[in-house]
Symmetry: D3
Subunit: 237 residues, 6 copies
Amino acid sequence: MRPSQRQADELRALRIERNFTRHAEGSVLIRMGDTHVLCNASVEESVPPFLRGKGQGWVTAEYGMLPRSTHTRTAREAAKGKQTGRTQEIQRLIGRSLRAVVDLKALGERQITLDCDVLQADGGTRCASITGAWIALYDACEKLVAAGKIAENPVRDHVAAISVGIYRGVPVLDLDYPEDSDCETDMNVVMTGSGGIVEIQGTAEGEPFTRAQMEQLVDLAAAGIGRLVGAQRAARE
Amino acid sequence: MRPSQRQADELRALRIERNFTRHAEGSVLIRMGDTHVLCNASVEESVPPFLRGKGQGWVTAEYGMLPRSTHTRTAREAAKGKQTGRTQEIQRLIGRSLRAVVDLKALGERQITLDCDVLQADGGTRCASITGAWIALYDACEKLVAAGKIAENPVRDHVAAISVGIYRGVPVLDLDYPEDSDCETDMNVVMTGSGGIVEIQGTAEGEPFTRAQMEQLVDLAAAGIGRLVGAQRAARE
Amino acid sequence: MRPSQRQADELRALRIERNFTRHAEGSVLIRMGDTHVLCNASVEESVPPFLRGKGQGWVTAEYGMLPRSTHTRTAREAAKGKQTGRTQEIQRLIGRSLRAVVDLKALGERQITLDCDVLQADGGTRCASITGAWIALYDACEKLVAAGKIAENPVRDHVAAISVGIYRGVPVLDLDYPEDSDCETDMNVVMTGSGGIVEIQGTAEGEPFTRAQMEQLVDLAAAGIGRLVGAQRAARE
Amino acid sequence: MRPSQRQADELRALRIERNFTRHAEGSVLIRMGDTHVLCNASVEESVPPFLRGKGQGWVTAEYGMLPRSTHTRTAREAAKGKQTGRTQEIQRLIGRSLRAVVDLKALGERQITLDCDVLQADGGTRCASITGAWIALYDACEKLVAAGKIAENPVRDHVAAISVGIYRGVPVLDLDYPEDSDCETDMNVVMTGSGGIVEIQGTAEGEPFTRAQMEQLVDLAAAGIGRLVGAQRAARE
Amino acid sequence: MRPSQRQADELRALRIERNFTRHAEGSVLIRMGDTHVLCNASVEESVPPFLRGKGQGWVTAEYGMLPRSTHTRTAREAAKGKQTGRTQEIQRLIGRSLRAVVDLKALGERQITLDCDVLQADGGTRCASITGAWIALYDACEKLVAAGKIAENPVRDHVAAISVGIYRGVPVLDLDYPEDSDCETDMNVVMTGSGGIVEIQGTAEGEPFTRAQMEQLVDLAAAGIGRLVGAQRAARE
Amino acid sequence: MRPSQRQADELRALRIERNFTRHAEGSVLIRMGDTHVLCNASVEESVPPFLRGKGQGWVTAEYGMLPRSTHTRTAREAAKGKQTGRTQEIQRLIGRSLRAVVDLKALGERQITLDCDVLQADGGTRCASITGAWIALYDACEKLVAAGKIAENPVRDHVAAISVGIYRGVPVLDLDYPEDSDCETDMNVVMTGSGGIVEIQGTAEGEPFTRAQMEQLVDLAAAGIGRLVGAQRAARE
């Protein structure tokens, strides 16, 4: 029995609010249960130095948690003067996941930065960030098309992410914080709308997991991501 | 004529949403027109080293802007590895303003940190932070009272803040970004519910201002703060 | 009765020593009682990136305290690896105050940096910095005129600053450290030679202050600044 | 055809040199082809603050690359003043992987730090670090047993890691740098001696990968890790 | 012919002003020609962690240059967020030199920090710092004796420092900046009042120097230090 | 009697291994007894900003210690976020020493960086770094000649370094760690193949040393360096 009373393969309630802030070219507040992430896409008409003159664009991400998004207050990274290893790991993952579905040449020599800021955390913030950031990115590209800067939207497919894990011996979908902090195995899976795997990261928190368990988890994740992609489609309409 | 078509003494639309996030002991989303600040109060059962064993508490604040709260993206302070002078100036102001109305002895040996994070900026973020943080602080103290940790709420009075300025020769109330970036004089005033002045900071952006202009600005601010205090009262009910 | 036996409206003994060091284009050691600040002006023939090609100059300031300028030793900011919020607040104030009286277009595409380093502190260091830096700035501009780089001195008016406060219920001028650390209200006022207000920053340290008290403090400050401007004039002769 | 002429399922030449330096409690130079990593284990008789008094030990890791371990010189992290996100990601992975096979309670209240410093890099440095660090960790624990500080070696199983990937459409084992920088999919797998999965991290560098490809890669990795564990056993004799 | 017209073995004009600031336990402004260094001694009634409970004291130093002590403005180390290698090298040298003549056990469990801040630089700042800091240190210890905290002054001997060098083929004493930036060999020598060598640092800036040149330089330095020690004695009377 | 049973004028066993790593243009593992330093030379086809367009090259050095090169683990500088004063002092010394024997004009507009990383420390790491780095530098220059980029090797002479000291009253050559941490005087001498002195740094750790002792130490060092230069010659053949 899950603490939230959900079924093993049940996602948390998902709400997607577009245009949450007004300055960003794409702005999405995604809520997966009590995990709320604000995903803002910013378009800049230049690329980082390593790409200059190469005729392609770039998509990158930054991630942050508001100090009191967590159960007890977490020190502000800006005040400490550096980002933790966890923050850097997450923002690299978000950037890679999004780039997997973008035609960077079609984007042209510009950069889109996705800022994923967690307003409230209850587990699964990196997955919610990817799922929400995809919509913000898509919206920002639509504006570039509408402004005549690019001929067509360079986002070639959906991408979404979900966590799965083994909680008290049972494979479950979309871990919330109580499950996440008490599970045996934790896995994050990033997949495209057409079912390709972009990223898989599984970690045994206690006992190593078996190959069979791995297969169950990936099955569960694939099903969940299918539903998230459906929600992304619905949100764009 | 103001860019927003407001009257010279007209505040922007004010909306206050309490309990915006669920982990913080006080959580307020304050919106003054297009300036939106999330103010979270966190209670910690200890005080900073310089106060240990002195039988009193502490109230402090931190301030941040989401990178895309601004018209064009601002670099993330956590990524740059330090807070700007502006950020530090603002968070010191918020902390001082709130401490002015708190009986720190009555608070007991605990610290309340107010995190003021700007989700969307359109001028006046420091003032909105103070006005909103006061409510979050009050709510957090109410919880301490309800939990029996303190006998009565140590917040002794309201405190609120507003900006005023001379825009194209006319004293105006509650500057928005287009006015703020184009005004001759800019003043932030912090006052209590009973009309005492806690802080006044006036700056000539171009020409120095006269004593008479200073008086007009303070009058305007006092009227505006009266209305903000009314809104704080209404929000608590 | 003030700890220093001064009258309520009495300034501390003021001494201004020009050309204190020999490399700086302007170099002033200002002593207000036991507060001693070395103000050095450095001219650089370039402007910061945000002003390049705009046909104007820039005036900026940096502030520091020698570790043992204070009653007990303060940690060296260079050793800690960062400047405190207070330092940044003060150096921003000095820069703004000086720019208020400089015709930046007449200065041409060059930058003047005012380094205000406190050799000995006894309250009022930011005000002494502004008053002394103005002279160093003026002297540096005179050298530019003498060298034929600019046609006339772009410093259009004097600027000076003084602190005032309510100490044991009485408004007093030019707080020294014992008063500053024990006063109810503290205000710094920056005014021009022609009496315009450039900056006013009043803070209630304990009880909020009333509008009437505010007026008294500004009156007191205006009188004091008049005398400081006189001293600046005298020092230049 | 692989650039190195290896078979698809062929590991690079593996050499393990124990006691490479003399101060560390465990010191292993592991060479996988041209990737050379020095893994030093240091025992400290205390634990980090979050574990004090909990009756258990800790195992952690730090990772670094000598500036000229790479084809062209990489800036020294100590000189830049911070570790990259990649470094932090890798050292967190090494620490987690080793902890998965250590009985931390049996280790007692002490910490073992594994420093993995890359002397020469040719792809697969994180995997070589894990495989080599395990031996250094085991050796350090043997010394604790020999010194009578613990009753038995708390390392309960082997752990080793290998990279696999899809290179020009073919799943291959143990990528070297030319393959790593040109492959379609890259996966790092960490497994125990008894075949449990500790960590799996697969990333599509270009096209997403299919479920079938994922299975092939995990099969290949499992076979390779079996051989690495054999080499660890042999090295200890 | 030296740029300053001095004889080869001639020191610059030396002026020593004690009690230059009033808060420090010892405060000396030393001027060697145009090199002016303010040396402040601060006594703290505790020692650094590595000495706690060992029944001895510590003497350490910090060094800094005001930004416009130099011919052209040097960036402020506090603003850059770190001290240069040169600064650290110098402050370590000052500390070592002073400790060589202090009986740390007789000092008791307290630390004296010597802050050497260069107000104006014209070569030889590290040597002037040592020579001046010795007096500040001595004065601070005298106050400890006067206060009855220690029985006798733990400073057992004088220590002073001078630079020597080979300038246009001639060994010269007490290099000023024009000589320092154009000499072939530069040497700093630190000696005690009784003629013992505490530190010798010689560097060939261009051509290596010979053993015979080394001897000449040390002779010259010894003579100069004898005169500096005489000046220290005189200043204390 | 020395702890190592060596004669007073006996060097530790010296082993020099060229081409230790394969990417660096020069790569030398130097072992002086239990002190092992990896010296890698990297050639970059550009010079630092202060030398651009001046028609000359640059030689610089960086120094680091692996965390467990020392008897007990030393914190990693990259993790602490800054290099110690000692590290900076050493890398400046290495760079200066090497530049003394290089014709920078003949090197052309390129920079060679010598990374000296201590794998195992037992005293004398800075001297071993200089002696080993010289070979790596020479080898890197040979490659530039072989590649036709420069006409002849710009390294004009050998340079090597050794420590000497007074240990229990006796001048001894090539201090190891037990001697280094317990000697009265410690001196590092850097000399060229033709016997010129490049750098001499002598420090009294306890009692000041006499002029006669200084002479004995320099004699001892000169003899030792002669043997090191012989070993450098032998290694190149």
